[in-house]
């Protein structure tokens, strides 16, 4: 089974963000980067599928600058076999522009499955996976939390609001991964050493034109600082009063 996993290098979300000069991007001072959360789950899913299948190859692919090679190496350290960097100084915010580059690379690659994280944790558009599928001409299932592959077909489960649905589809296909297939493994020391020797190919990204762009970014309006109104069950009547008279939600 030949699987491609498309991953993105994103800022570590635990850090405090500041707005950079120009107002269109984060202040890069102090930022750390890592693989996007759901993309880690997608790598894990790819590795497990190949392990369960007994043979195959997991190829990790990213669109991004040279620094994104670090993200590819991490996935190689987890166990992926080889990596492709589609080189671009900046990753366009427009999902279709990115999908164009990925589909161009993956279309004739003979992949049984192309996996994505459900969405990148930074741009949060959730569009690149399904758009890549369409441009490749293959079926697509998004945001899945369970996946079985057998006999050239897939069965997946998707979480809906307050429900879930089961989806069936033929391979080859594009599947985007929510949580649920298993926590991403940490690269072992041996894995990290081995990753240094695994092939990492660099090619220019054939990006599509971008018509979705960023005008500006801002920190969300501050909430008023939290307020502790009391201790224990005796504080409940005061809470009720505030919910009725101040918040007006009761």
């Amino acid at each position: 089974m030949k699987i491609a996993v498309c991953i993105k290098r994103v800022p570590d979300m635990d850090l405090r963000f500041a707005i950079g000069a120009g107002g269109k991007a984060l202040d890069s001072a102090g930022l750390k980067f890592d693989i996007a959360d759901f993309d880690g789950y997608a790598v894990e899913a790819g590795l497990r599928l190949v392990e369960a299948h007994g043979s195959g190859e997991v190829v990790v692919v990213t669109v991004g600058p040279a620094a994104a090679q670090e993200t590819l190496r991490k996935a190689l350290g987890m166990g992926a076999d080889r990596a492709i960097q589609l080189s671009a100084d900046e990753v366009p915010f427009d999902g279709r522009a990115v999908a164009t580059a990925l589909a161009t690379e993956l279309k004739d690659g003979g992949y049984d499955l192309v996996l994505f994280g459900r969405m990148a944790t930074d741009s949060a558009n959730q569009t690149v996976g399904p758009m890549t599928a369409h441009l490749m001409g293959v079926p697509c299932v998004t945001a899945i939390s369970k996946l079985d592959i057998a006999g050239g077909r897939g069965t997946a489960e998707r979480q809906l609001e307050g429900a879930s649905e089961t989806v069936e589809f033929p391979l080859p296909a594009v599947v985007t991964i929510d949580e649920g297939l298993g926590r991403p493994r940490l690269p072992s020391l041996k894995g990290i050493m081995a990753a240094k020797k695994k092939p990492l190919e660099v090619k220019p990204a054939q990006l599509g034109a971008a018509s979705l762009t960023v005008d500006s970014i801002a920190l969300p309006p501050d909430r008023p600082p939290g307020r502790i109104i009391g201790e224990g069950a005796d504080a409940v009547p005061e809470l009720i009063r505030l919910l009725q008279t101040e918040a007006k939600v009761l």
Partner: protein, 329 residues
């Protein structure tokens, strides 16, 4: 003057609230750009057409009803082909979808089929000249990105709760449509929909969300959270990942960075520490209440009203008082 398109999401033969929101948003956009018509697309099993009237009240001038026995459940390829077909022929300025599980699956398929880009998960929007300008929470809600989308039609998904539903005395015309792809020819097929059901209030729709965390100690104690939610009468129950991981609650109820994002009028956090990944799913709630025995729990930095103490004493009392307050209405 421009016509707008809205996709009316339904499940199990009922409209979802986000359907009314998409139509209401399209109405606002039409009125703000000098008038025009709102056309809503409603797809489902035979009988779904009965829901057209509600879409009219929310602002639709025309409802395109596509009924087919093979479309009782969502069918991504058929829905996408049908929406794209209509958008191709209609000369629409904008196309509104919900940023729901279904809408976020559907809209990118439609966009790429039309050869256009799209904007996702907007909390606000305006058409300015030849562009759509929108607000999009990114970076797990820690950044608000203002995006600009050029090209026509401008496709977007709208975050649930971002607009108020219009309710006007308006009667929509109804046009019968047909699926643009034979449902039997679809490669991707939804074979079943199951789970907590349609009767219960969706997390995304509920004005009040009561969530429980590991502080509840065991699954059975979640009944305290359920009783509090029931006392409000308009509440849905959420959970932290600590709790869904342990199998106490269904994964579909997880709130946070890797779960659902909610923005209710009132969010009550019971025995929840307030990890940044959890806050990512609820920080835009209008009012936040936290009950936690640790006065230094991070949730208290965000909570408008915090009570420090043992949830096993506080929650039953709160349930009783909410019930009384509700009865007094």
């Amino acid at each position: 003057m421009a016509n707008m398109f809205a996709f009316a999401e339904s499940r199990g033969g009922s409209l979802r609230k986000v359907a009314l929101e998409a139509v209401s948003a399209a109405r606002q956009a039409t009125d703000a750009t000098g008038g025009g018509e709102v056309h809503a697309l409603l797809i489902g099993a035979p009988g779904i057409g009965a829901k057209a009237a509600a879409l009219g009240r929310a602002g639709a001038d025309l409802v395109i009803v596509v009924e087919h026995a093979g479309l009782a459940r969502y069918s991504p390829e058929v829905f996408a082909a049908t929406a794209a077909d209509r958008l191709r022929s209609g000369g629409y300025r904008g196309a509104f979808f919900a940023a729901s599980a279904e809408g976020r699956d559907l809209a990118p398929r439609v966009a790429v089929a039309l050869g256009v880009s799209m904007a996702s998960d907007l909390t606000g929007f305006a058409f300015e000249g030849d562009a759509l300008v929108g607000k999009h929470p990114t970076h797990i809600g820690k950044i608000i990105t203002t995006v600009r989308l050029t090209g026509s039609p401008a496709l977007l998904t709208l975050r649930p709760g971002a607009v108020l539903v219009t309710d006007a005395d308006r009667t929509a015309r109804v046009e019968q449509g047909a699926p643009a792809l034979d449902p039997a020819a679809a490669r991707v097929v939804v074979t079943s929909v199951g789970g907590t059901g349609d009767a219960q209030l969706d997390l995304a729709d509920a004005p009040v969300v009561v969530s429980g965390g590991r502080g509840l100690r065991e699954a059975a104690n979640f009944k305290l959270v359920e009783e509090l939610a029931a006392a409000f009468g308009n509440a849905a129950v959420g959970a932290t990942r600590a709790v869904t991981d342990d199998g106490w609650r269904d994964p579909s109820t997880q709130i946070g960075q890797t779960g659902r994002i909610v923005s209710p009028d009132l969010y009550v956090a019971v025995g929840i520490s307030g990890a940044i990944q959890h806050l990512a799913g609820m920080r835009t709630s209008k009012t936040i209440v936290a009950i936690n025995k640790d006065k230094d729990a991070p949730i208290f930095k965000l909570a408008d009203y915090g009570i420090v103490g043992d949830l096993f004493e506080i929650v039953p009392r709160l349930t009783e008082e909410v019930r009384k307050a509700r009865a007094g209405h």
